[in-house]
């Protein structure tokens, strides 16, 4: 049956070619250049209404055979305005100068699962980042990291500065209070990508518990960081439900659509790029050097004499050490190599690339390596069928070491050195024996040298798409679009403390290892029919289709304790236990219909609806509806003023969903072992029989304006995103033995403004200066709460936590003392969410061959819980700890502790997070083609230097104001506990095209 159809397809295709060949035709040739008269290579030139075409060569020249007597040629090239040219058989050579599409009005943006519109016709605010902004200015640490400051409406916090990243991304404020997915949905070339953070049980081995979400103190990277930024062509961000409604039930936290690079017809191109650089720890606190007076100030009694002796010994041996500098002071090498090959002809295009990134951390024995291979293919079968295939294999190897929180185990460098005086002796002796740390539970040098915290990932992302022209007439076409893909992530973690380590020696079974294996498989498929009709000045585009997503997760972590000397294989463990085994199977199913209407590019309207069901819901077979509608009015197309390139008013409404987490609808017995028998204990989670998914509704209005030939652009958006039926743990009285019942208990509202202003004040052949200013703010408020107000995140009231209370922001930080009128009857100290954020990007092209760019990011307001400062005060390491400016006989450091715990003022540890960061800086020189032509080999050579995180100006008293101990979750962020310090990164770049 299928073979039969295929034969017919070929027959049909052949007959079309045959008949074409019999008609009259003529030759058109010419050259395409940019506004500076430089040749444009790879411009697509098509005869309008046909599939006949070519691409410009290395000199910008082209030549093609056009059918008939006259034709219209359509010139298109990414980043330039599409240009149409009427030619006849008598036209001579054509010189075409294409104009840059500075405002990117012609860029096609996503509006549906099988449709898109030109940016100038979009009814939504659209945010996109292209390859140039993403990875060509400087070398980002990870993909998610590269987005910050480049899109309005985004807030990000890192787990710390460890190699391999780990970022919490919030689009337009908080969209779940913990039940749904807090992170945006990532779609890579149509594949639902896995962005989970699998556990590695680091927090079990080093007891980084306490806190209200101990699961998330593993300090693992979210998996989106696996992607190689160099392979990405474009990232489009659907920030809120009004745009993301097309993704329905999983889109409450927004959608990030990633498109990878593809080949273009034309001469084959080999590109090579090498970035090489180094990193330096940023914003060190500067621990005190301890002298005799300080020792006397901190220690007393019998201990004082021991410490004085230790100080003298260290001084005699010249062993006084700045521990911060000692541990975080490495200058690691960073290298990123990438080779790509692309090209093809009208029928087949390919893009293949290989990349290798290797980075060591500013702490010894930490680092990150990424190997990535990609092949993307496009092929046309006959005139009707287009096939796209993407294949990507990635391997990442991460060594993150031990920083951040711990309990008793000493399993954190930062925690240990908070208590380490400068004369402490942690150095191994000649036999390699590490002395015990008398100030805390572990020897930090031992932890650094011998602690293992590795995570390796092998990942395959593969996608396929088929577009079939089923039927077409002059005014109408019908297409089928089918695409699907697989994301298979296989993770292996290893966390290991050997039996000689200080804390291990105190255990009944010294030596602790956890081996983790996770296998996450996502596979999705969608099929759509697209019917497009033009009636006079009206165009209608109708899409209907269905989507399906399946997820299958298997996770097993096995722990061995009581290890034989130097062994980490489980066979050498005295006690082997299953730390966790989890199996998850999830299926989602949706049907979608959408109608887009366009009246002469003047008024563009779109309505759509999606119905989704998911096995994560309590009612697994129930469909939930997610409608959307948008309207764009291009005022400039009504009255030709010549002043506006664009003046558009737009409005959009949409709804999305947030699914309960796997397991929320189950009431399990948990296994327990006692005295050689296995028993079942009732869990602490109850189930609400009426649980429904969270739904977000967003309405946004905006104005897009482009004037002075694209020299000035302004886009402004206001939105109101309200999330209903937020799933929250109802917390029955703890005496009932049930600690949580997940229930639809709250609504919240996010209101915000996003403004983008672009201006190009100077634009000459030798000098072009362009600027982009973004400003955004978001306000969140819990508007309804039917469960008792409660606190969440952090380490309880005494150390600062978050309040969930009606009328307050869900990221409100509270602490002691009691305040009857405050949220959860505690004192309100601030909000994690900043007042506003602002970024400024500038780029200058000068002397024809130089490019300079910079990105500044400013955050006003916001607060974080700085528990590093608390530990430093407790350990006496804070700079100036024993100063006594008020002369009351109590040292400054001790005073803060007294105030926090004696007077019960938690505010001591809660600090504002205003900052100004110079995130990126780049200077590139493109070697003139006149020079390169002499080599005969190189087509393009670009050299440059760049840096990121160069400058940080903040009053925040730790390494970085945007860091979190609790990983990627909506609420509990911005609590820091001696994290891996952030670093500055400096690079030298070579990019060459052959």
């Amino acid at each position: 049956m299928k073979m039969h159809n295929l034969k017919w397809t070929f027959a049909l295709a052949m007959s079309m070619f045959m008949s074409n060949a019999l008609l009259a035709q003529f030759t058109v040739s010419g050259k395409v250049t940019d506004p500076l008269d430089l040749p444009l290579i790879g411009v697509s030139i098509l005869v309008k209404g046909t599939s006949t075409g070519t691409v410009s060569d290395v000199d910008g020249s082209f030549s093609l055979e056009a059918p008939g007597e006259s034709a219209t040629l359509v010139f298109s090239y990414t980043g330039f305005k599409t240009f149409e040219l009427d030619v006849t058989g008598s036209s001579g050579p054509q010189n075409v100068q294409m104009q840059e599409d500075i405002a990117r009005l012609e860029e096609v943006v996503v509006t549906g699962l099988a449709s898109g519109v030109k940016r100038s016709n979009s009814g939504n605010s659209v945010a996109s980042v292209d390859a140039e902004m993403l990875s060509e200015q400087t070398n980002p640490q990870t993909l998610d990291n590269a987005l910050y400051g480049k899109i309005a409406g985004v807030q990000m916090t890192a787990n710390g500065g460890a190699p391999g990243g780990g970022i919490n991304v919030q689009l337009r404020g908080i969209s779940t209070l913990g039940a749904g997915s807090s992170q945006p949905l990532y779609i890579i070339d149509g594949v639902y990508a896995d962005n989970s953070a699998s556990r590695n049980f680091r927090s079990v081995v080093n007891s980084a518990g306490g806190g209200s979400s101990s699961n998330n103190q593993d300090d693992v990277a979210s998996r989106i960081s696996d992607l190689n930024p160099d392979e990405i062509e474009r990232i489009e961000v659907l920030k809120g439900p009004s745009a993301a409604a097309i993704y329905g039930t999983r889109a409450n936290a927004g959608v990030i659509i990633i498109t990878t690079k593809r080949g273009q017809a034309g001469e084959s191109k080999v590109s090579f790029s090498q970035d090489i650089g180094y990193a330096k720890g940023q914003n060190f606190i500067g621990f005190d050097d301890w002298n005799e007076q300080k020792v006397r100030n901190y220690f007393s009694g019998a201990r004082l004499n021991t410490e004085l002796a230790a100080l003298r010994a260290a001084e005699a041996e010249g062993r006084i050490t700045d521990w911060e500098d000692f541990f975080y002071g490495e200058t690691p090498l960073l290298s990123n190599t990438s080779v790509s090959l692309s090209g093809g002809n009208q029928k087949t295009q390919f893009y293949a690339s290989g990349g290798f990134q290797t980075e060591d951390g500013i702490i010894k024995n930490t680092g990150y390596d990424r190997y990535s291979f990609r092949v993307n293919l496009d092929h046309k079968i006959g005139n009707f069928i287009t096939v796209k295939l993407n294949n990507n294999f990635i391997r990442t190897e991460t060594q993150r070491g031990f920083t951040g929180n711990q309990n008793n185990t000493g399993g954190s460098i930062g925690y240990n050195i908070a208590y380490a005086p400068s004369y402490a002796n942690f150095f191994p002796d000649e036999n390699g024996i590490y002395p015990d740390n008398p100030y805390f539970g572990g020897n930090p040098i031992d932890i650094r040298d011998n602690g293992v915290n590795d995570y390796n990932v092998n990942r395959i992302i593969t996608a396929g798409a088929v577009d079939i022209d089923l039927w077409s007439t002059a005014n109408t076409f019908l297409k089928a679009k089918i695409n699907g893909g697989v994301d298979l992530v296989s993770g292996e973690s290893l966390v290991y403390f050997n039996e000689q380590m200080q804390y291990q020696k105190t255990r009944a079974n010294p030596g602790d290892v956890v081996w983790g294996n996770s296998r996450n498989l996502n596979y999705n498929l969608q099929g759509f029919l697209v019917l497009n009709s033009t009636f006079g000045k009206f165009n209608s585009n109708t899409t209907v289709g269905a989507v399906r997503l399946d997820q299958d997760v298997n996770f097993l972590a096995t722990r061995g304790q009581g290890l034989a000397a130097g062994q980490r294989n489980l066979a050498w463990a005295n006690v082997v236990t299953v730390a966790s085994q989890q199996e998850q199977r999830i299926s989602d199913m949706g049907v979608v219909a959408q109608e887009d209407l366009n009246w002469d590019d003047k008024i563009i309207a779109s309505v759509g609806i999606r119905f989704d069901k998911s096995t994560l819901n309590r009612d697994q077979q129930k469909y939930y509806a997610f409608p959307k509608a948008s309207l764009a009015v291009n005022l400039h197309n009504f009255v030709e003023t010549g002043f506006f390139d664009q003046l558009k008013l737009r409005g959009a409404y949409g709804e999305t969903g947030g699914l309960p987490q796997f397991g929320f609808t189950f009431e399990p017995l948990n296994s327990t072992i006692i005295g050689g028998s296995i028993g079942g204990v009732v869990g602490t989670q109850g189930v609400d029989a009426n649980l429904v998914p969270e739904t977000a509704q967003e309405i946004e209005f905006g104005l897009d304006m482009t004037l002075l030939n694209g020299r000035v652009t302004l886009d402004a958006t206001v939105y109101n995103k309200s999330v209903k039926d937020l799933i929250l743990p109802l917390r029955p009285a703890s005496s009932t033995g049930i600690s949580t019942i997940q229930t639809n208990a709250a609504d919240l509202e996010n209101r915000g403004v996003e403004i983008g202003l672009g201006f190009v004040p100077v634009r000459t052949a030798n000098f072009e200066w362009s600027n982009r200013l973004l400003w955004w703010r978001n306000r969140s408020e819990i508007t309804r709460l039917i469960v008792p107000q409660f606190n969440t995140g952090g380490f309880g009231f005494a150390l600062g936590t978050y309040a969930i209370a009606e009328g307050y922001s869900p990221t409100a930080i509270v602490g002691n003392p009691d305040n009857p009128s405050g949220p959860v009857r505690k004192t309100l100290y601030g909000d994690r969410q900043p007042d506003f954020q602002m970024s400024y990007a500038t780029s200058i092209k000068f002397l024809k061959h130089f490019d300079f760019s910079a990105l500044l990011h400013y955050q006003k307001g916001g607060a974080a819980i700085n528990l590093s400062a608390y530990l430093w005060d407790d350990g006496g390491t804070t700079p100036g700890w024993d100063e006594d400016p008020d002369g009351d006989g109590t040292f400054k450091g001790q005073e803060r502790i007294n105030e926090a715990f004696g007077s019960g003022n938690t505010g001591v540890w809660i600090e504002p997070t205003d900052y100004l960061k110079l995130r990126e800086l780049g200077l590139y020189y493109t070697v003139p083609s006149t020079v390169l032509n002499n080599t005969g080999l190189l087509k393009r050579l670009k050299l440059g230097v760049s840096a990121n995180n160069i400058l940080l100006s903040t009053n925040y008293s730790s390494y970085d104001p945007e860091v979190s101990n609790f990983g990627a979750q909506p609420l509990a962020g911005s609590v820091e506990v001696t994290p891996y310090p952030s670093s500055r990164r400096f690079f030298f770049h070579i990019k060459a095209d052959f």
Binding site: L12, G301, A508, R548, I674, V681, S734, S735, T736, F901
Partner: protein
């Protein structure tokens, strides 16, 4: 041409339809665990066994926190736990500001015992709903569950004291009222009621329990044996409620054995125990290898050593550290000098050692106290001397001693006999009105805590 087009169209539509023919998604049930619902609908014997083993597991979980926190409140021990200064700052109440809602590190003696209560309630519900086990097995299961439930309710009450506690907690959305507000005796009586019901159930359970218990209950793993445990707990509850006749009555049904001397010290240890083992079993929460360089260790309070009578064999419960004496910057004397931790608990052979949760030695001392307040001073002194002579400190000279003097002696013996077994000292001093600086050494400059503030979930629920 037209025909071929139709074929293509149909073919492609077919592909699309095929792709989504599986529009129906398969219902997913929890692939990882059995559900509570199936266990309480009509449990099989195996499922009942499974729940009872689970109950025994929940039953042991409170102990570490009781020993560490209550022990610190009564200065039996000092918590040298370096990772969080609140162990010392809050537990020893350095600021003198008492406790607060969700008091640091207090869940182990509140939420944790209530998990055991929850499990016991599920066992009772499952037994009542099961048609697959015999009527005697139903009674046995309920008897075990109510006995353990009664014992577990004692822990939140000990922590909350005058705040009272909830007794009826079967329905998480409709918990019963607090019982015993400003009158702990009322709560103790309610607990006694649960224990009495358990006793009746055990008496209806026939000759065997039917269900397997851990070796911690060996010797008590029949309905009659378990009833002795039930009565021992009832004796403790009655003593706390100052119901001395009730205590003596309960002791009669318990496993009390007054026939103990220095040659038979093992008899003092007899009693049901929490069992521990290597992971994945739970580890003995008090065991730590001796004299290791740790930053977290429970240390015997020096006053316990200093105040001891000469030659008291009970001092062997601890051993002086040699190389790893410990200090903590939060723990200082009045001169600001660091207090050195010197004596480690060495009662446990390894991390799998059992911990008895009610022992003959305590029953003898309950007997002494109940006799004292039943005006049988002679019998009280005889019981005191059984304990004293067992440990080699000779007879008590009761001549000219008042009732309160003898109570002091009993409390003194309890201090040494029951040291670090879940905070007896603090509980004893409070129930006898002696929780003051005269009875507790406060060289650490801390303060005495009477009780722990109510957890916020409780306050919030009532305020709801």
């Amino acid at each position: 041409m037209k025909k071929s087009f139709n074929y293509i169209l149909k073919g492609m539509l077919l592909v699309t339809v095929l792709a989504f023919s599986s529009c129906e998604i398969e219902e997913i049930v929890d692939p990882n665990n059995p559900s509570v619902g199936s266990a309480i609908s009509n449990a099989s014997f195996a499922e009942m066994q499974f729940l009872i083993t689970g109950l025994e597991s929940r039953h042991r979980s409170y102990f570490g926190n009781a020993a560490q926190m209550f022990g610190s409140f009564g200065r039996e021990v000092w918590p040298y736990f370096a990772s969080d200064p609140r162990f010392i700052g809050d537990w020893l109440d350095m600021g003198g500001d008492g406790t607060y809602s969700d008091f640091f590190g207090s869940g182990g003696t509140y939420a944790t015992p209530y998990l055991a209560v929850k499990q016991a309630n599920i066992v009772i519900q499952a037994a009542e709903n099961s048609t697959k086990i015999s009527a005697q097995q139903v009674s046995a299961a309920k008897g075990i569950a109510k006995t353990i439930k009664g014992y577990q309710l004692l822990w939140p009450l000990m922590q909350q004291w005058n705040n009272g506690i909830r007794i009826e907690v079967e329905d998480p959305l409709n918990p019963g009222p607090r019982v015993g507000i400003d009158n702990p005796t009322e709560a103790l009586q309610a607990i006694q009621g649960v224990l009495n019901e358990g006793l009746s159930d055990l008496q209806a359970a026939g000759g065997t329990l039917g269900f397997k218990l851990s070796v911690g209950f060996s010797g008590f793993d029949t309905p009659a044996g378990f009833a002795q445990v039930n009565r021992a707990i009832a004796a403790r509850v009655a003593l706390y409620a100052k119901d001395y006749a009730g205590a003596l009555n309960a002791l009669n049904g318990s496993f009390i054995d007054l026939n103990v001397d220095a040659t038979s010290t093992a008899k003092m240890q007899r009693g049901p125990a929490h069992v521990y083992g290597q992971p994945p079993d739970g580890e003995n929460p008090l065991f730590q290898p001796f004299d290791r360089p740790t930053a977290a260790i429970l240390i015997c309070h020096p006053a316990w050593i200093e105040d001891a009578l000469p030659n008291d064999a009970r001092l062997n419960k601890v051993r002086q550290l040699v190389t790893n004496k410990i200090t903590n910057s939060g723990l200082r004397n009045a001169n600001g000098e660091l207090l050195v931790g010197e004596y480690q608990d060495v009662r446990w052979s390894d991390n799998g050692a059992d911990i008895p949760f009610i022992r003959n030695e305590e029953l003898i001392l309950i007997y002494a106290e109940a006799q004292l307040f039943s005006n049988n001073t002679t019998e009280a002194v005889r019981a005191i001397n059984i304990v004293r002579n067992t440990w080699g400190v000779g007879n008590y000279d009761a001549a000219g001693k008042s009732q309160d003097d003898i109570l002091e002696e009993i409390l003194f013996q309890r201090r040494y006999s029951l040291w670090n077994e879940g905070g007896h000292r603090w509980i004893d001093l409070r129930r006898t009105g002696k929780l003051d600086a005269a009875h507790v050494d406060l060289r650490d400059q801390g303060h005495l805590i009477l009780q722990v503030a109510r957890p916020s979930t409780e306050i919030n629920w009532d305020g709801n």
